[in-house]
Symmetry: D5
Subunit: 148 residues, 10 copies
């Protein structure tokens, strides 16, 4: 049996070998860019037709397609605090701005949370006189604390 982790490794290998980008794969699957990336990295179950297309583009076997379709056990960081600098910066944002985000959500919406389930994320680029900027947008439904 091919696990979702092995499938993700196979995807990464094929992507490098074939010189494909995530954007090209997402286009081929007709799916959002970030969803495609996280689904092929094993964090979402992939519908059968998209799994089939993905392995076709990536020249991988049916076992990979089947693994992509499986329900994942989510959670991609190996440690509670990430060590990779690119990922750590987002943990740092949480350390410095976490309570700020909480205060502003409560001020603007009341008692509740931003859903991480009914949720989408986007990574984009903004040109700026001071240099190009990474813009990450988190967009989740507000869920009000509600007793049953």
């Amino acid at each position: 049996m091919t696990t979702k982790k092995q499938a993700a490794d196979a995807v990464l290998e094929a992507k490098v070998r074939l010189g494909l980008t995530w954007a090209e794969i997402a286009d081929a699957l007709d799916a959002p860019l970030a969803w495609t990336t996280s689904a092929l990295l094993g964090q979402h179950p992939v519908p059968a037709d998209k799994a089939a297309k993905a392995v076709a583009i990536l020249e991988l076997g049916d076992d990979v397609a089947q693994a992509l379709r499986l329900q994942p056990t989510r959670g991609a960081l190996e440690e509670a605090v990430p060590t990779d600098p690119t990922i750590y910066r987002f943990y740092e944002v949480l350390q410095v701005y976490g309570p700020t985000i909480k205060e502003l959500i409560h001020e603007q919406f009341g008692d509740g949370i931003m859903s991480a389930i009914n949720f989408k994320i986007d990574v984009g680029r903004r040109e700026d006189p001071g240099g190009e900027r990474v813009v990450v947008t988190l967009d989740g439904k507000f869920l009000k604390y509600q007793w049953g």
Copy 2:
């Protein structure tokens, strides 16, 4: 001496007592909303004039103004993994989408990171047929890995 933590507590108490919102305080300081919130919560040094205005609005003493001006030791979470559900959801986003963000930054920008220093954050609201949505935008300069 009033610490930055004590100053933050005094700000929160005064804000509730006077019925002020962060938006009103930010307007009064003529500063961005999220910066104002995090600075008054102790995560940024506040320039002298803004510190003076803040304590005037909040009817607090000079010791609070002085504390707000101090250089902070940043880091607002008391545990490596936050327990408050509103804040935890952002940690969960990192667990599920961290490697996705990393892949897309590298694909779009090359080897480097999004700065968390030359950086701004915004918390907003978007109406949607499926219910109102929280939109958090992280906007940081791209820093390329560069040897000296």
Copy 3:
């Protein structure tokens, strides 16, 4: 300023001193039993009228009422793994049955989670020939993984 933790301690002390039960307090507040308990223990903001009634019944001051009304930073366990045997048994249930719950939620509902926000909990009692039984019911809205 009275913190939510100090307010919770004052509530517990008054409750013992006056010989009140959570059921009596919940009746007086006209609110669900478990919600009342967790709100007075500091895990939910209490609406102004209920906070006023609560301090009246418990013969406590206005500062406690104000603390009860504050937005909480949730999370009541002091350690990641609880040591109190009554609470630990529920952590053990998670250790032994967590993946079972996950499998059955996915089988019955698809990819998603049980909300802990749009959620209610109840603790009840069931007589049984083998001895009385504790029945804890967790009842939360199903949230489907949905891309934006």
Copy 4:
């Protein structure tokens, strides 16, 4: 020797390959749904006849049947705090409502605990105008603190 972990993986693979549900397997074994799921995931020893039936339905070998019969070392989470969102929500419930559950058990039953051994769990579904709801019922014998 096939370990209980390998047996659980084989069960999951066969279940996907054959398109079986936990409900169908539980019916075939004439056993409760959640017990069946957790037992085949390796958290309970399976009686010989049920183990034989299980491998027959799942078209697996005798080594799997033998592994299912073994006494388990229980504990299915790989980290003290689970990262999978579906399982984490139950940990969050413990963080927010743990002391509430403790207070109510003591108020209704006296000093003691809900057993996690003489215990059953059920995962069900309730339709509601606000959307379908997950209902998890924990039902354990009350054990009174008793000195010998």
Copy 5:
């Protein structure tokens, strides 16, 4: 309000000041030795009459009696692994003999556990040619894994 921890400290101080032993206190309370010790150290709620007797013998106030009567949040070690050598040896026993105890309970009783709730403990002394020996007896009801 006097907490159970403060009450335990007051008991220890009074016991040293008055030169009492746990055995004398247990006799006066007409209660088992180890139960008396752990109850006065804050791990069990003490019935009203015994709490009254205890503070009388120890020449302490009514606030201590009230604290002794409270329902405890149990768990007396401050770290997951104890550092005091007298207590550590029992943790070491668990490290070295834990799986042995598990194997023998299962062999002699089937699938289940020794209850730590319907449970008593005793600490005694045995003379032996090789020197005096500490004998700790753990005596708990066997609880069979039983589905509901």
Copy 6:
């Protein structure tokens, strides 16, 4: 080379395959029951003659006998806090009664510890009107704190 862990696994497999009990193996080795169990699980070095007898009864090879004879690196729990419920209950005993045991050892013996080296353990069964009881006896030499 066969490690002590592999030898323990081979013992467990053979024991199940041949339908032997620990009591029968201990009889055959003419050794105490708990010692036999822990030694074959890899926590004690086994004398040459007993190792030979053990592999004969269990129909295992000489490599297992040699592994059983090796000096172990002791410590059988994989985490600081055990997750298996049967083993956890003993950790809970330590959490609830650890300081009680310490107080009583010091009261009865003075400043020192119960040895976990000059030590034996026994697991037994006691019938009781309230149901059968597990009785675990820890019996170790008292070691007085003594300066050289």
Copy 7:
């Protein structure tokens, strides 16, 4: 009540104020140097006459003498891994040479341990052409693993 920690702090303060050395205090108490140091730092109970002499020399009160006489809960490091460089070097020795010490104890003595209870420690100085050297001698009774 003065705790052992407060007594230790009072001793350190008085020692600096009066310009005394540990060697002078040990002489006055007619006790070994390292024992005196660790006992006054709160790791050993001090006999009544020595406690009286100690507070006399250090010009401290009777409450300190009483605290010194109390049975300690041992364990002086605040974290599992010490951060002070002087103490850390001994942890590093354990990291680098721990298994070596274990091998040599087993080779020279058989299966057992060096007691840390029937034990003394000494810190001395040795002149050497390469510079003065710290010599720490650990001297503990060998305890053989012995079943009861």
Copy 8:
């Protein structure tokens, strides 16, 4: 490539198979006993001639000799707190006597540390009327805190 860990395992296996002691190996290498033990366990690089002699005596291959010569990444304990009782006792010594050692080094030498690099260790035996004793001597150069 043979790693230093694999080389250490091969050494231990050969040593048992050939019935050699560490003392005999150290004699053959004309090197100190404890150095030899720790070097062959992978904590020091072994000079070419000694590595050749070691594999000759132990009847091992050239790959082991090459591994012994490699620069190690030191640190032999798998957990921050060791669980093996023989090694744990030295950690306990640090917990109980760490601050004592620190006080005495500072009193006798001033501000600085005992080097764990310019350092030797010895494990010996001392007969005593009370039974044989393990004597471990740590002997390291004193390094004074010195600014550049």
Copy 9:
């Protein structure tokens, strides 16, 4: 697929086998010494031409060259606190001098950080009457805290 970790191991093996130094490899690649070392150890992506040269010098295969070119997930320490003494000393520097560095950066540059991305490191040697000295120079761009 060859991972970056496997490529790093292959580089270390080849380097020893061929008797090459990092300085020679850096010369051949016409790249800075420390960059070369960390890039071949897997912490930087290596440009195609340099990767080709590296495997040519080290007599390794194309799979290693491809692995060297991959984008790394950075973070080379296996534990939060390193155990190898050579690496630990730098962690100790952080424990002792971390706040000093922070104070001086803020005094000399204002509120901000030293970049670890636009950054170079150098390890050198300085002769000194007191013995040769290791000089590590960290040289990173100052990044000012700047809101967007």
Copy 10:
């Protein structure tokens, strides 16, 4: 008694109140800049004359001078992994370049370490066309692994 932590807080308060810089204080003490900073932050004992000068400049009391003279227990980070971004970057350097530093020290000096005791640190500034740069220089004596 004033602790070193309280003295450090008093120094920071006075420094802000009087508008002094570390550079001015270091000049007044005629001591290196980084040494002065870390010593006044409590990481080094301060000689009597410098302690007297420091409290004179900072207009603090004799108790602060006495605290500055005390031998410190070093270690200034409150968590194993620092959360303040300015300090974290140096931990990140260790994560990314730790093994590189180790390799180069061994290549240039042989088996040993850079001392963190016979050690000095400097924080400086370098103008560069790409922006000003922070230059931190670590300069420690090389200590060769040497057996006694």
